[in-house]
């Protein structure tokens, strides 16, 4: 670990391995250098920053301006290393207090614009572009994913929409239509189900994986051929907690290209809507564990109250004693609040870890 806290300006020219760092916190600047080849660990760098600025007791967020002028965060070894190696000629560090961090600044060309604004005062185009807010990585959760790429034909796409915990609408419409299929008798027009509309701001639109006029081929592994629009609607709504739609995108240019095999086979097979019930985990065959599909739906909420307590109106008042339940320790005792929140929207309960609380006659099973 090479720490050179030399403030000398000449360092730049003397040692090509050293990267000059200009660190700014509020109106204060500090200058120092780090080794370009061996920048060291983020933790150490973080401590160094706190030490230099004499703000040891504070939680800060460290950001740097990259070559494009974007403000990017430094919060792990990787992006620290990247910041140091890509610094040219000097690494400009910006420190913000954790509670004051304005995430909207990150990644949005902020640094350049500030500069350019000086040069071209009339650069209104840039200024009016809406700022996209990007959360911290720990705040991210999956919204959608493309799955089973390896087993589907390239022209098809299987999209999984995660709706847990979100109150964002699923947000799309389907319609009847005709699609053209290749059959042994040549091209044939067959009825199909298509996406007809996206609700602006809805989950489906925000994923960018579904589009108007995409043909719906399967819903959670069950083919929709021969099913009416109402049937498919009911199927989708019944699966809305964890919806997996296989579509044939109307725009075939963004398909995932596979090098291995170019199967022209249609979607296959195992997900047929046979009677009496499709084999359990028919999707499992596509590499998706059946359990995974089931996991987040089965949490029917049961509230049981003791027969002795004559509470005619709900909800039963609950005791604050959670000694027996490790699962609820985090909730800081406001179980009642959680419970009433769940009553309004039980989907929230999914954020709670599985397990139960048991206490004098009142049982909550989640």
């Amino acid at each position: 670990m090479n720490r050179s806290f030399n403030k000398s300006q000449s360092l730049r020219y003397l040692d090509c391995n050293a990267v000059e760092v200009k660190s700014k916190y509020g109106a204060e600047f500090r200058r120092f250098s780090v080794d370009r080849q061996k920048p060291g660990k983020f933790d150490e760098f973080y401590k160094l920053i706190l030490h230099i600025h004499r703000i040891a007791s504070m939680e800060v967020m460290i950001g740097y301006a990259d070559v494009h002028g974007d403000l990017l965060p430094i919060n792990n070894d990787d992006n620290f290393c990247k910041a140091v190696t890509s610094a040219h000629p000097l690494l400009r560090i910006f420190i913000q207090r954790q509670e004051e961090v304005d995430y909207s600044n990150f990644g949005t060309n902020t640094m350049t614009r500030r500069k350019k604004a000086v040069v071209t005062l009339r650069n209104d185009v840039n200024r009016k572009r809406p700022q996209i807010r990007i959360g911290m990585p720990q705040d991210f959760r999956p919204v959608s994913s493309i799955i089973d790429v390896d087993i589907l034909p390239e022209s098809h796409r299987r999209v999984r929409l995660y709706r847990h915990g979100s109150d964002r609408p699923l947000g799309f419409y389907i319609r009847d239509g005709t699609s053209v299929r290749v059959t042994p008798h040549g091209l044939e027009k067959v009825p199909g189900i298509f996406i007809s509309r996206m609700v602006p701001g809805g989950l489906a639109e925000s994923t960018g994986l579904l589009a108007v006029n995409d043909e719906v081929l399967e819903v959670n592994g069950i083919e929709v051929t021969g099913k009416t629009l109402d049937q498919v609607t009911d199927m989708m709504i019944a699966n809305s907690h964890n919806l997996i739609v296989t579509v044939k995108p109307v725009n075939q240019r963004n398909n995932v290209v596979r090098s291995s095999r170019s199967s022209g086979q249609s979607t296959d097979s195992s997900g047929s809507a046979g009677y009496p019930a499709p084999p359990p985990g028919s999707l499992g065959a596509h590499g998706l564990a059946g359990d995974e599909l089931e996991s987040d739906e089965e949490s029917d909420i049961v509230i049981e109250s003791s027969i002795k307590r004559p509470t005619p109106k709900r909800p039963p008042s609950l005791q604050r004693d959670h000694g027996s339940s490790p699962a609820f320790r985090e909730s800081n005792g406001s179980l009642h609040k959680i419970l009433s929140a769940m009553r309004i929207d039980p989907r929230h309960s999914l954020a709670l870890p599985p397990g139960g609380v048991e206490e004098d006659g009142t049982v909550i099973t989640l």
């Binding site: 699923l170 049937q231 019944a238 907690h241 809507a273 109250s305 027969i307 309004i344």
Partner: protein, 1018 residues
């Protein structure tokens, strides 16, 4: 090895399934929808009804029913039985003729279509030449006379449908002999009527639209006599003694013409306009029948004074000084008169009238001509059916009491036996007594004997007397003032107009052991009734229940509640109400249950549910299920109607505006006009593209409307809070996927009148998928559903297993889930919607007995989906067993009307007036089994026609005989063929060769009756 064993088990299960389940649509109960034709065979004593959808139904003695369906969906316009034969001919709207026969097969008759025919005219003739307007089935049984729109009469030989051109009565040959001064000479118009001379079968009367009537001799092929009527002809009747002919006309008059006088009669012997002086409507049919001692009966339909009574549907019956105008509530299709014995001599015994909505039979033998109660064709829809409830295996005691009080209501009916007695009913007696209860829009509940093939009315309960309604019940439309002319008499019970839609019955629950009945209606009213054999005057005790529990912020915008009568009401013997619960807001009752052992009634609306103790007459529990965001639940049915009206008005306005704007731009320049049109078209197209049929994909949330609507209520004696002590409990399921469970504390029987019943909330389950909960069942330790209240006490069910652990089966529209009890945790489930895209609409528990072994049976869950498919699920493992498609998915009202019996049968409405009965059980099937035998040839003593028949044309008779002989021999041979004899084949060959029936055989299309003929489990 393992695989093999499992396979073996599966095949065993498959075999068992075959023994347990079998799907048949067995019989249609009620009155055919849109009847269009009536036929009657005096020799078979059968009546036939054709419908606009192309169905043909035959009825004879009670239980004797046949049904056939034409391949074409064209309406049946005429039905004619061939005299003294088992064949009948139907004429359809599309001008095709069809021949049907009743053929015995395995000792049971089947209705089969055996031939079809379309009249082909000379080449190049206009279609009116062959458009059939009148049909006469000649008494010889081998000729069919077809009068057409063009005025020709074609003669066709049956059953082969061979046109006999030499016999036809051409328009020219008739016209040429008419005196030149006859007004209608140039255009005789269509053949309106054909009648055979009752004394000489070789003579027929041909009546033309313009009024001309010609007596034609079939053998001489010339007109014998001509009657130059000048009024538009409607129909004719040949008086049975053969002496004169009656013709009825469009001006409401009828004429009498004497036969055998001058060759050409210029004016009728007598003309009469029964309802006189002012212009009258047409008399569409007239019948005159003499009686052995006394004046003849003159019966005709129509003829009412146009201005004052032109809208009435009347049949007038005149006998001597007695004159009655039977006033029907729906249009009259046709009528006929049943004569006592022989067709030509008997006194008229009954008048059978087919109106559009019901069949009315008037007893002409008894004084006052009372109406007879029909054993079939019951008008189920006399007021629209709003709900139905089936109760299986009624104890004999209750059955007889209901029947007794029902008979007290039927005093106005005739005591004469049912006059139609054709065929034999071979079906075994039904294994049990079943009641079907239908709730109607006018607040009545009708009790039907649904045990057998005939749905027979047993008792009618009216709930409207409890309330103040706009109409006074004493105001009977029946009572015409004294000396009124025409002398109207209201007949029939079809009355589609409800005085107050709030009276409509929505839910019914009958306890067959205690005779307690709960009935709930549209305006939140719940009546508790008790069967009483005596009349009683009592005041009904009223409890008002505020289901909102005084919550602020909700305002009910729907109808007001019904106003109950405070003074004591006189109730006739039968089910008499003693307690009334009025929900506030008065929304329609959506769930109802009655526990006769605990004497509790549970009820639910879109706002919540309540529990009423009808022993102590107090409310035990009120629970509001409304979610704060649910405003729609407060709208009530009326305001939504208003909004539809509003939107309609808006769209009309929009249309008008666009028309106006076009008119303003009115221009003579065609190019401009074209441009405007094109633009309009494009706009319309764009609008269409903007709004394609699309469905929103959105997860259900708690904010959805009507989540609080209570869908199901259930009483159970089970382990609700701990696994050692069982408690009485009430369960409720809502539209939003919630289940509420309350423990009930019931006082001991001795203290039942003093101590109060209490209810405590114990559990709430919120289903994650939020689909409406449509059924709740507790399964006992053996996995069997808990028995009904009092069932064990009456030794009719084994007591439930209280040792093993109980389970709760929650049936939502999308899933079936089994939870453990008392600690509720999910055990098994079956997803329906997620997998098949169908939703549960109706659900019932049924016991399926094996058709092979008497002792084996299983209980199962019967489910009807929104796609009209029936599923049977095993219990307690909820595995799909069988499925059948039963109802068209478009038939939403049919699906909604379905009820299941406890023995795997069910009913659903195929029209507003007809129940289709189906059976899922292989053991219990109720279906008609009947035999109709070929009548004996008419006895020679009475047969003047036969004398005539042999006289002029011996050939035809002989030919007919041959035909009959060969046919019967063919039948005989066919029966032998079953024995697999080698020589039989040759015999068949021989019999068929040179046989007229070949033609028939070629034309024959086997038309199986619905369902197969199955042997009953007994």
């Amino acid at each position: 090895m393992r695989r093999f064993r499992r396979h073996g088990q599966e095949s065993h299960r498959d075999k068992l399934k075959q023994e347990l389940y079998q799907f048949n649509k067995t019989v249609e109960h009620g009155f055919p929808h849109q009847p269009s034709a009536l036929g009657y065979s005096p020799s078979l004593q059968l009546l036939a009804i054709g419908t606009r959808s192309g169905a043909i139904k035959l009825y004879g003695a009670p239980g004797v029913e046949f049904m056939g369906l034409h391949d074409e969906t064209a309406a049946v316009t005429q039905v004619h039985f061939l005299p003294n034969l088992v064949e009948l001919v139907t004429l359809l709207d599309d001008n095709s003729l069809h021949m049907w026969t009743l053929r015995a097969h395995h000792g049971v008759s089947e209705l089969l279509e055996i031939g079809r025919f379309v009249l082909t005219g000379p080449p190049g003739a206009p279609p009116s030449v062959t458009r059939v307007t009148a049909v006469l089935a000649h008494s010889s049984g081998e000729l069919l006379l077809l009068g057409t729109e063009g005025g020709h009469v074609f003669v066709v030989e049956v059953p082969g449908f061979r046109e006999m051109e030499d016999k036809s009565i051409s328009l020219e040959s008739v016209q040429s002999r008419i005196p030149d001064d006859y007004v209608g000479r140039r255009n005789l118009q269509c053949v309106e009527a054909l009648q055979e001379n009752p004394l000489n079968s070789r003579q027929v009367l041909v009546g033309y639209g313009r009024g001309l009537i010609v007596l034609w001799d079939l053998d001489a092929r010339r007109a014998v006599q001509q009657f130059l009527g000048t009024q538009q002809l409607e129909s004719m009747w040949w008086v049975p003694d053969g002496g004169c002919v009656l013709s009825c006309h469009s001006d409401g008059s009828y004429c009498q013409w004497k036969l055998g006088e001058e060759k050409i009669q210029y004016a009728p012997h007598r003309t009469e306009t029964p309802y006189g002086s002012f212009p009258c409507k047409a008399i569409s049919k007239i019948v005159q029948i003499p009686t052995a001692k006394g004046p003849p009966f003159l019966i005709f339909s129509g003829g009412m004074p146009r201005a004052s009574y032109g809208d009435r549907h009347c049949i007038s019956v005149i006998s001597g000084k007695t004159h009655v105008a039977l006033d029907f509530t729906s249009r009259i299709i046709d009528f006929f008169v049943i004569q006592d014995w022989d067709r030509h001599k008997g006194d008229p015994s009954a008048l059978v009238v087919l109106a559009e909505e019901e069949l009315v039979v008037v007893d002409l033998l008894s004084a006052g001509w009372p109406v007879m109660q029909a054993p079939y064709l019951a008008p189920l829809h006399c007021s629209a059916i709003t709900c139905s409830h089936h109760v299986s295996s009624i104890p004999l005691k209750l059955w007889e009491r209901v029947r007794a009080v029902g008979q007290l209501q039927n005093t106005q009916y005739s005591n004469q036996p049912w006059p139609l007695n054709g065929g034999q009913n071979l079906a075994p007696d039904p294994p049990q007594r079943d009641l079907l209860l239908t709730g109607h829009e006018d607040g009545t509940v009708r009790f039907w004997d649904a045990s057998g093939v005939c749905l027979y009315p047993m008792y009618k309960l009216s709930t409207s007397s409890v309330f103040h309604t706009d109409t006074d019940p004493n105001d009977n439309m029946n009572q015409g003032s004294e000396g009124e002319w025409p002398p109207f008499r209201k007949v029939g019970c079809f009355d589609p107009y409800s005085d107050d839609p709030r009276l409509g019955i929505q839910k019914i629950h009958l306890c067959k052991y205690s005779g307690h009945l709960a009935v709930a209606g549209t305006a939140g009213q719940i009546l508790v009734l008790e069967l009483n054999d005596e009349a009683l005057e009592q005041a009904v005790e009223v409890s008002l229940v505020d289901l909102l529990l005084g919550q602020e912020g909700f305002r009910w915008k729907g109808h007001t509640r019904l106003e109950e009568r405070e003074e004591p009401v006189n109730f006739s013997p039968g089910f008499q109400p003693f307690a009334l619960v009025q929900c506030q807001p008065p929304a329609v009752v959506t769930a109802l249950n009655l526990h006769s052992e605990w004497k509790l009634v549970a009820f639910g609306t879109s706002h919540g549910f309540g529990l009423y103790d009808y022993q102590q007459r107090n409310v035990v529990l009120i629970r509001c299920t409304l979610s704060p965001s649910d405003q729609l639940a407060m709208e009530g049915p009326l305001s939504r109607v208003k909004s539809i009206k509003k939107s309609l008005r808006q769209s009309f306005r929009r249309i008008r505006r666009s028309r106006v704007s076009v008119r303003k731009q009115h221009t003579n320049n065609p190019a401009k006009l074209q441009e405007i049109n094109a633009r309009m078209e494009a706009e319309a197209l764009q609008e269409m593209e903007l709004a394609p049929v699309q469905r929103k994909i959105e997860a259900r949330s708690s904010d959805d409307s009507f989540t609080g609507l209570v869908r199901t209520l259930y009483f159970a004696d089970t382990f609700l809070s701990d696994s050692t002590h069982r408690t009485a409990s009430l369960w409720a399921g809502t539209n939003g996927g919630s289940v509420f469970a309350y423990a009930l504390r019931l006082p001991s029987i001795e203290r039942r009148n003093e101590d109060v019943v209490t209810a405590h909330p114990v559990k709430e389950i919120q289903l994650m998928h939020r689909a409406p909960v449509v059924g709740l069942v507790v399964l006992d330790g053996r996995g069997a559903p808990l028995p009904e209240p009092l069932e064990v006490a009456h030794d009719l069910a084994r007591s439930p297993d209280m040792q093993g652990s109980h389970h709760l089966l929650v049936i939502s529209e999308e899933q079936f889930k089994v939870f453990t009890l008392p600690k509720v945790s999910s055990k098994t489930k079956l997803k329906l919607t997620a997998v098949e895209g169908s939703r549960v609409r109706r659900v019932g528990l049924a016991w399926f007995g094996s058709s092979q072994t008497e002792e084996y049976g299983e209980s199962g869950l019967v489910v009807l989906t929104n796609l009209g498919e029936l599923h049977v699920l095993s219990l307690p493992h909820i595995k799909m067993q069988v499925h059948y498609s039963c109802i068209r998915r478009e038939d939403i009202s049919g699906i909604a009307s379905c009820v299941f019996t406890k023995h795997g049968q069910g009913f659903y409405l195929i029209s507003p007036s007809e129940f289709e009965r189906f059976s899922l059980s292989a053991r219990w099937i109720v279906e008609p089994k009947c035999l109709v035998e070929v009548p004996l040839p008419p006895s020679t003593s009475s047969a003047s026609p036969t004398a005539y028949r042999t006289q002029p044309d011996g050939m035809a008779v002989k030919h007919r005989k041959d035909n009959e002989e060969s046919e019967s021999s063919a039948k005989r041979v066919m029966e032998h063929a079953l024995l697999n004899d080698e020589t039989v084949l040759q015999q068949i060959q021989k019999a068929l060769e040179g046989d007229q029936t070949t033609h028939v055989e070629n034309n024959m299309k086997i038309k199986p009756r619905r369902g197969n003929v199955m042997s009953n489990g007994d």
